[in-house]
Assembly symmetry: C2
Homo-oligomer: 165 residues x 2
Amino acid sequence: MTEEVKAEELKSKLSNRLYTDSLYYDVKLTEKFSKMLGLQLFSKLNSPVSPEEFLVLDVTYSNPDICQRDLAKLLVKDRANTGRLLESLEKKEFIKRVVDVKNNRLVKKIVLTEEGDKVLHDVMAKVFPVFDKVSEKFTDEEIKFTKDILKRMRDTFKDIVELQI
Amino acid sequence: MTEEVKAEELKSKLSNRLYTDSLYYDVKLTEKFSKMLGLQLFSKLNSPVSPEEFLVLDVTYSNPDICQRDLAKLLVKDRANTGRLLESLEKKEFIKRVVDVKNNRLVKKIVLTEEGDKVLHDVMAKVFPVFDKVSEKFTDEEIKFTKDILKRMRDTFKDIVELQI
DNA sequence: ATAAGTATGTTGTAAATGCAACATGTTTTT
DNA sequence: AAAAACATGTTGCATTTACAACATACTTAT
């Protein structure tokens, strides 16, 4: 086989490669379905919080007294969006933002209210079973394996992507 | 162990479960990093199309003369968003929308222009190598396995989620 | 001591999203 | 034949997004 033919084949292969065949598009599509299920569930349940607000409650619950920027880092959201989600949650009285000092700097620490705690666990009780139905299709090993792959993928992304939080 | 204690433990476990520990949050986070890498790459390259527009070109390329609704189904986007992305691509003259008849109904078939084809492959040539760097961290087996798991997950979601396309 | 840099939070903006509602036709039911 | 349902595409709207730019206030460099 000549070099020319090889190069032609390579070129052909390259131009026939599709983004939609990649693992990254699989991840994108899967997240889209998962997100839509969340949206539809929260809507059907008349949840007082959106899926993203629920996420904030979830992380706040497991990280009491965290300040906004540290919360943003955990959420992998920028400070602007984190602040807006918190503003909405505070307006609904599911959290309070308490001004405090950390490293000699003013920060706003997030405190879950009783009502916020209640909403978090109410939503969990209704939403978890639905997602559990999906998880039933997989073995514990499969889930563990996939979580590991995705974590390694994120770690690789972190070296390339500029996160400004 | 009494039933009461068991129930107490179960309740405790339930309330200690976190959404952020779930596989679905892993998928969400991973997609977020992947999306951000795409955004930053396209921006750095001064790409004439956004990542979502690139996706439309990718699917149009591999499905010539597809109509808007069928394209929407492949993209798993609703008709409204698909139409808006196409409107933007047509304005930039990367596609044309040709009115045609299918099943005795008027449809708009999507045709990639020469310029659109060029942009698609230019962007591919610049973006694929970056994502390939990430893929290098995984064996072919791992990628195949993960794609399979995610596909099964989507198939399960499809039975639960209402897709109105 | 002054300047430059950093930390924290806010406001503005453009893109993409899903859903609802609409317009306009064609089928199917009744 | 009239009514209901469906197919296709569009417009409007509220949510979420990332990024840029800003306001304060503190730290570090010069």
